[in-house]
């Protein structure tokens, strides 16, 4: 294998990840400042929550809203509490993405500088797996809390707490953990071969 080509690819990956992380941090800072200044807040609501189960938007007979349709509520001048709850809609997922990109960047930098099969890379991959495994559902829970509390501030009758859990994070987390164990197994095999002359 051409090692310089591999190193070049690692350099490119590190650069792209570094730029991506910087952009993510900048966007997070801008959004946090905007939330602190009381910028308009938008968030989705289900049609049932927005219009009630009996009332609804006026549609022609035979026409209905899709079950997964959402209505976007916009608060041009949110109260402080609404701004605070709205942060839960984007900050947890941004932090999770930032943590994942940081860990992948660390692994790439370690692989570029020295031994790609060193113990550090396995530790980083295991950490990434656990972060995605636990962080995915946690982010969905926190986003659900944010939506629930925000909906409660705009609906007179109160809102239902219904966080949307998906298996994306846990599935990717398990896959990363499995890959970490594959690399660890490769390390053990190589340690054996190191003393073969």
């Amino acid at each position: 294998m051409n090692t310089s080509a591999g190193r070049g690819w690692l350099n490119a990956a590190a650069t792209v990840l570094g730029i991506g992380l910087a952009l993510l941090l900048a966007a997070t800072a801008v959004m946090a400042v905007q939330a602190a200044r009381g910028a308009p807040v938008s968030f989705p609501l289900s049609p049932e929550a927005a219009f009630g189960t009996e009332a609804g938007p006026t549609l022609l007979p035979g026409v209905e809203l899709a079950r997964d349709a959402t209505v976007t509520v916009r608060l041009p001048d949110p109260a402080a509490a609404q701004s605070a709850w709205s942060v839960l809609l984007w900050l947890p997922s941004t932090l999770l993405a930032g943590a994942a990109v940081t860990l992948v960047l660390l692994a790439v930098v370690r692989a570029r500088r020295g031994d790609p099969f060193g113990g550090g890379v396995v530790t980083i991959m295991r950490t990434l797996g656990v972060v995605l495994l636990v962080g995915g559902p946690l982010v969905q829970l926190l986003t659900g809390v944010g939506s629930y509390r925000l909906a409660g501030t705009v609906l007179g009758r109160g809102a239902d707490f219904a966080p949307a859990f998906t298996l994306d994070g846990p599935i990717v987390g398990v896959c990363v953990l499995a890959l970490a164990e594959v690399i660890r197994h490769g390390q053990r095999l190589r340690e054996e071969l190191d003393e073969v002359i």
Partner: protein, 75 residues
């Protein structure tokens, strides 16, 4: 299966080199191994030896594998 690190194999490169008036560096050049790796083998710190390495050593020293490796019989 015996434990992987426990063995009674002795590498007798020292004796062979002395008998042929050859240095370890010279052997390393002929065999195509680094001096460090050949030194690991000579000092009995290698865990295993490839057939290709053994063949090259035997060819360079004009000997048989049994001349390079011996099993020590501990009572």
């Amino acid at each position: 299966m015996p434990p992987p690190d426990k063995h009674n194999v002795v590498v007798t490169l020292d004796r062979l080199l002395e008998a042929r008036d050859m240095t370890l560096t010279e052997l390393a050049d002929r065999v195509g191994l680094t001096l460090a790796n050949l030194s690991v083998l000579k000092n009995g710190r290698a865990r295993a030896i490839r057939f290709s390495t053994l063949s090259a050593i035997c060819e360079a020293l004009a000997c048989q594998p049994g001349d390079v490796l011996q099993v020590r019989n501990d009572a």
